[in-house]
């Protein structure tokens, strides 16, 4: 997927004015924030569980090569074929190659954000493979030719009416308005796709090193059909998704659905191990697992490694007041919200996303709910450090930072400057004691009036003995 995050600021303006989007986003709070809150308390030892989950992820990341090799060995021993992909293009090439090898013309696909990184669907279409998205949200987006705006609820930016219109237009059937009717219609369209697909493509929430299994966590049942009906199954995921044991997965699964969708448990947890054996009645004859790096390995051992703990629950974006107001598309790549504001610059190049590390108030709502305790604001701040060090900040901002630091280290001059500022602002505040415009800070006063100060500084008054 093309990285357009450089356009973030313009997108913010567009998204804030998009009434349909704003209406759709207004439901985030009840659906995800209150949803999580209602079930997370079921974990009586929540903080210990989060610590344990972070510990599992750190243990893997501190010795990633070891766990990946163990995974490969175990998966191979059970009949799967493991492919290593350095880039998204590599993934596309490998999948197209598998399709060609098995004479695949149609593929059914369950949700995979990693495949979005690669732009897999377009690449397969070009290779002559028809791909059908079968996750309801992803199917809607495929019809609408849109990208996901959320990693768990990809179509959260659309309301029901838009989907009714879309189905009526694309399916050429009478317009339905009820959610149950719309779902039934999608099911009827998708059923033949499941049955006819020669290849199934899925993501992978976890890779289990001890068993070589790919684990997927889903709700709709499409994941089961995609990974068991076709004779070829290709699972694509990031190299960081490996965990040592099924026991470790069980710890992470206590947190993932609760953090993601406010569910104590998802409808399906599929543990996909090896290809169909002789004695098996079902399952894919060929099971390929593609592990994508795409910049992840260079984070290992560095100051941003904690980002790779991420288990893609989406809680950070659900709780982010920035995401809640602009939605996911504004972020300009696959991953939105706080985790996306870190991953996009890290995987796509810091110079291509000048705004993302800065578009946060550091409110900390994200890290407070992160199931694997990623210190998201700290990582965003580290990206800001890199921006400053690499001269990526504007000259005006760099000058202001230096000037403020210098002033703060020279108390006598600082005192004069603040006294002058207090007086000037009081004057500018006029009779209503409000500043309607502030030179150099129009971003502030475009939407707000700055309450004027008293005109004297605290330190000045304190020294004069005013004690009221």
């Amino acid at each position: 997927m093309k990285n357009t995050s450089v356009d973030f600021k313009n997108q913010v303006t567009i998204k804030l004015a998009d009434a349909k989007l704003q209406d759709a986003l207004s439901r985030l709070q009840s659906r995800f924030v209150e949803g999580r809150s209602a079930v997370i308390s079921e974990i009586h030892d929540l903080q210990e569980t989060r610590d344990a989950a972070a510990g599992i992820r750190d243990r893997v990341l501190n010795d990633l090569e070891h766990w990946l090799l163990q995974f490969e060995q175990q998966a191979t021993a059970r009949g799967a074929i493991v492919h290593w992909a350095e880039s998204g293009e590599d993934v596309n090439r490998i999948v197209a190659g598998i399709a060609a090898q098995h004479g695949v013309k149609t593929a059914s696909k369950s949700k995979s954000m990693v495949s979005e990184e690669c732009g897999l669907n377009d690449a397969l279409e070009q290779a002559g493979v028809k791909v059908m998205e079968t996750d309801l949200g992803e199917y809607i987006l495929q019809l609408a030719h849109e990208a996901p705006s959320h990693i768990v609820a990809p179509v959260v930016h659309k309301n029901k009416e838009e989907i009714s219109d879309l189905f009526a237009e694309k399916h050429q059937l009478p317009r339905k308005t009820g959610i149950a009717e719309l779902c039934r219609e999608a099911r009827e369209v998708l059923r033949p796709a499941f049955l006819n697909a020669e290849m199934g493509i899925s993501g992978g929430n976890f890779l289990v090193a001890e068993t070589g299994s790919v684990l997927i966590v889903t709700n709709e049942g499409n994941g089961r059909l995609v990974t068991t009906l076709p004779r070829v199954h290709v699972a694509i995921t990031g190299i960081e998704k490996v965990v040592p044991t099924l026991e470790d997965v069980s710890t992470l699964l206590r947190l993932l659905p609760r953090s993601a969708t406010g569910q104590s448990i998802t409808n399906y947890v599929s543990v996909l191990t090896g290809n169909k054996a002789k004695e098996d009645h079902e399952g894919p004859e060929h099971f390929h697992i593609i592990l994508l790096d795409n910049g992840r390995s260079k984070l290992i051992g560095g100051e941003m490694q904690e980002m790779l703990r991420c288990i893609r629950c989406g809680a950070c974006m659900n709780h982010c007041p920035v995401y809640q107001n602009i939605g996911g598309h504004a972020y300009g790549w696959v991953y939105p919200g706080p985790m996306g504001s870190i991953l996009t610059p890290l995987l796509g190049g810091i110079e291509k996303s000048p705004d993302l590390p800065n578009a946060s108030t550091f409110c900390g709502a994200c890290s407070a709910v992160c199931p694997v305790k990623i210190p998201l604001p700290d990582l965003l701040r580290k990206l800001r450090v890199k921006q400053l060090e690499n001269g990526m900040k504007s000259r005006q901002e760099t000058f202001m930072l230096r000037a403020w630091a210098w002033l703060s280290l020279h108390p006598a001059i600082y005192a004069l400057a603040t006294r002058a500022t207090a007086r000037l602002l009081r004057l500018l505040g006029g009779r209503d004691k409000l500043l309607h415009i502030l030179p150099g800070a129009s971003g502030w006063t475009d939407g707000r009036d700055l309450p004027a100060p008293a005109g004297q500084t605290f330190r000045e008054m304190y020294q004069q003995g005013k004690r009221k």
Binding site: P321, T361, G364, S408, P411
Partner: protein, 248 residues
Amino acid sequence: MQMRVGFFVTCLVDTMRPRIGFAAIRLLETAGCEVVVPARQTCCGQPGFNSGDRKSARTMALKFLAEFEAFDYVVLPSGSCAGMIRVHYPDLFRDDPALHQRFAALAQRTHELTDFLVNVARLGKAPGNFRGTLTYHDSCSGLRELDVYKQPRALLATMPGVTLNEMVESTTCCGFGGTFSVKYGELSTRMADNKCKHITEAHANTIVGGDLGCLLNIEGRLRRKGDHRTRVLHVAEVLADVEPDATG
């Protein structure tokens, strides 16, 4: 023995609303503390730190250490500046064990105002006679870095004239975020709008909080939208009931 408290007024209170500083001193003195205001204090360094300027932040942290290390306690009328000192100063000196230890010790003795009054000074009753219906905004850093939530409410509950009407989502960011509010003014304003809506729906005549940055942001949006009635006060002003406009 009387506690000797170094008071850091914060750059924003110093320039924009000095009466908050005097209210805080009154509260500290009511709680039996000796309050000292080091004369050469400036800014804690948070604006630069959050913009990626670690080097300047370290220099400013050292200045702060020199001025405040000698006190029994350091108190600030701001959760975000107190968070800078408690959480981020020690982190800035991870590579220097001796300094790190000194900053960690300083952090232990540094408190946001209401946290200090409740958990250290054990102030039993707020001295002010404020009367009114309030709603409280929980500023992000105080809440999530320092666990300041119950403390201001406990103090407000000691005031017979105060009724607290909680707003929904009181812990959601108001959109200030320091330089964020200038760089992403439009987005910041929308976040402030959401906050103002919740304030209005709480049917209070006063919105109270513990961080002046957030309060200026909220007041700025309320006024621009034509609300000139809702009062916007720092929790210290309410607790000490320093008459607005007595000192400006």
